[in-house]
Amino acid sequence: MSLSRSTSPIPGGGWATPGLDITGGRSSPTRALSGTPAMWQQSSRLGRNHGGGGYGGGSNHNNRYPSFSTRTQGFFGRHMRRLSNSLPRFNSSPYYADKEKLGRERWSAQNATLPGRIRSILGRMGRKMKTRLLFLLILLSLLVFFNSPGTAFVYWWRRSSWFGGGEKFVIVIGANVGGGVMDWKGGKEWAIERHSLRNKKQYARRWGYDLEIVDMKTKKRYAHEWREGWEKADFMRQALKKYPEAEWFWWLDLTTYIMEPSYSLQRHIFSDLTKHVYRDINEFNPLNISHPFTDPYLDAESRSPVGDGRPESINLLLSQDCSGFNLGSFFFRRSEWTDRLLDIWWDPVAYEQRHMEWPHKEQDALEELYTSHPWIRKHTAFLPQRMINSFPEGACAKEDGARDERFHYDKKDRDFVVNMAGCEFGRDCWAELSGFKDLSYYLNRSWWERFKEDVVAVAWKKVAGRKVKL
């Protein structure tokens, strides 16, 4: 500190006047009202000490020494002023307010409000420093905005139709499958549900989508053999009604996991639909559906292999696995067409004839509709399976156990979603899900997590000889 201004008051302190009662170097009042000049209080205290003699016990033992001698005191002695100034003050004796001395405490920081203090700090700061601080502030706020998914600002930004458009998307997920009626719901089942739902919640929150969790517990109205598995269509209809603003709805089964939450649906798929989808099923046709229609009474659009070819006419977007359509992860769009599909999808006449041949219920029914109804075909499009619905190696497995590029998840390609299809039939759903959960975390670690785990934990292991979880 520059000594050239020795007569100025130290901000927040009183006069460092030698010869006065400076107990431990403290010059600030202990019980002063915000209007009380420090000097007055000190002198009055001094007077009282001299008169009564009983005040403060042994606190005035060194009042005959000049203040600068306190420099040789210990830590508390030297820093008492700073420490005590940072302590809260309580105004208990309002009668100390002395109008005459009001003008004298303008420099005193003890009565300054927070904005006042900031203003005084800014006042003493150079312009250059101010600009630097402003830049720093802006940088910091940008960091906060962009690097903390889930902050309200980013959420609403990404949600709004003007900027992110997230409100146009709804994720519908069927939870509580079976509802513990068909099967005992044990710890693993609960854990699957918890982790899967959390994954979708975080994803929806990150991108400003809506999440609709539907309860697929076994209900009596679906208990008839013709009507099993038919909740899906009903829940889709409910979701359409519940989110009137949304355009695209994404159905996800419970046994799916979003591996790359940093992919937004818009960027991953919908910004450039034509690039990603194929509408001519001949590109990949495990069911050998003859396509397109050749009936002469149909119009050119219905006989075209790609409908009208415009991305706006796509109302249903799904993927095919090794055995045909897969409805574990698919998109449908709000449209009259979708209303019609959901209405026609279940039909008692179709069911009476086919329920024995249709083990996959609504999936088979959709295949049947696609095969025989031109109006369905011209608004349906397919995505390559691994864009929305990668399988673990247990599903669609070949006899030799080899991976298939078309179906199976590959972490090198950072597939978007994995669907543990059919894991409830002889595979371990929980083991698969938790494996993918850990893998997803591992692939998407932040730099800090990488530092902790790849550097610190490894070093720790070398030094201490055992693994540590940070």
Binding site: S4, G165, D308, V349, R354, S372, H373
Partner: protein
């Protein structure tokens, strides 16, 4: 930094010069303001760019959903021609002479009002072993394909004649104001005690299919009017579904029609039922509303073969007289 003494000044003070005012009024304070505004704008732009690219999407990438009601499909319904009359001529069921009269009846009526006709025979379309009576469905679908700009398709089967050449289908029946008066709301689809009823608050703009029911078997597929558009294609293709064709409905396509109307609300909510006098009056003893002079159509739902020719003789003469007179 503070110094005890101010720094020494130069002994050659620069001559006092006003800074050249490049921009009038552009002082330091203004510069600050401009800089701050620029910074603010830059930040906003950056935010937009960054979040756009990170969430991409944007409203233009996701095209706006189509309007709630797309009345007609691409090119559909401009009314050129206004009406296509579809009739299936089954030579195994009727005599040649009779079918010739039927054909002439349709053609004359169509010419009079600028409509078009489409005649089909059962062998024309692949029905996949379904009864021949199903032919009417692909025939109507064919009419939509051949006349994509037509406004309406009127299916009138061979067992009937158009009796009143002065009534125009598209104006005297299908015009919304007129249809609004004619359609029957909140009546059972399958009389007399069907649970499913036509919508009580059906708006006439929503009507895509106008049909009748008779007093004996419920809905009648002998004479109905379908509005061209996406809904019409959906309806016909659904009706023609192979699982309906293979199912043993007692009355084939008519029962399939009753079935889809009663089970599927997207179909029920687009149909209007009208009186038989409007489209589908029956001759005496056929068990429906009886034909009276001035009705558009008379139908003979039970006749077939040679008997049909004699039974309808009087009506054939009547419509010929009426057409000549009009």
């Amino acid at each position: 930094m503070h110094f005890a003494l101010p720094p020494r000044k130069t002994s050659q003070p620069p001559p006092y010069l006003r800074p050249a005012a490049r921009l009038p009024g552009f002082r330091r304070t203004r510069a600050k303001l401009v800089a701050l505004t620029g910074l603010f704008l830059f930040t906003i732009l950056y935010l937009i760019a960054h979040l756009r690219s990170s969430s991409s999407s944007s409203s233009h990438a996701v095209p706006a959903p189509p309007p709630a009601r797309t009345r007609n499909g691409p090119g559909g319904g401009r009314g050129d021609p206004p009406v296509v009359i579809v009739t299936v001529l089954d030579e195994t069921k009727y005599t040649k002479e009779y079918l010739e009269a039927v054909r002439e009846n349709r053609v004359q009526y169509a010419e009079k009002h600028g409509y078009t006709t489409l005649f089909a025979t059962p062998g024309d379309y692949d029905l996949n072993n379904a009864p021949a009576s199903w032919t009417l469905v692909p025939a109507i679908r064919d009419a939509l394909t051949r006349y994509p700009n037509c406004a309406y398709v009127w299916h009138l089967d061979a067992a009937g004649f158009i009796m009143n050449p002065r009534l125009k289908l598209d104006e005297d029946i299908m015009r919304p104001a007129q249809l609004d008066k004619l359609m029957r709301r909140d009546v059972p689809v399958v009389p007399p005690e069907g649970v499913i009823k036509t919508l009580a608050h059906l708006r006439v703009e929503d009507v895509e299919l106008v049909l009748t029911q008779d007093g004996r078997e419920g809905l009648s597929a002998g004479s109905f009017v379908l509005r061209n558009g996406e809904w019409a294609k959906f309806f016909l293709e659904t009706w023609f579904g192979p699982l309906y064709r293979s199912y043993n409905f007692q009355k084939a396509e008519v029962h399939a029609l009753e079935h889809i109307i009663q089970w599927h609300s997207t179909i029920l909510s687009r149909i209007a039922l009208v009186d038989q006098h409007v489209l589908n009056a029956y001759n005496k003893g056929a068990g429906g509303q009886e034909y009276k002079d001035g009705d558009l159509v008379v139908r003979f739902p039970d006749c077939s073969g040679k008997a049909c020719e004699t039974e309808t003789q009087a009506f054939v003469q009547a419509w010929r007289r009426a057409f000549d007179a009009a």
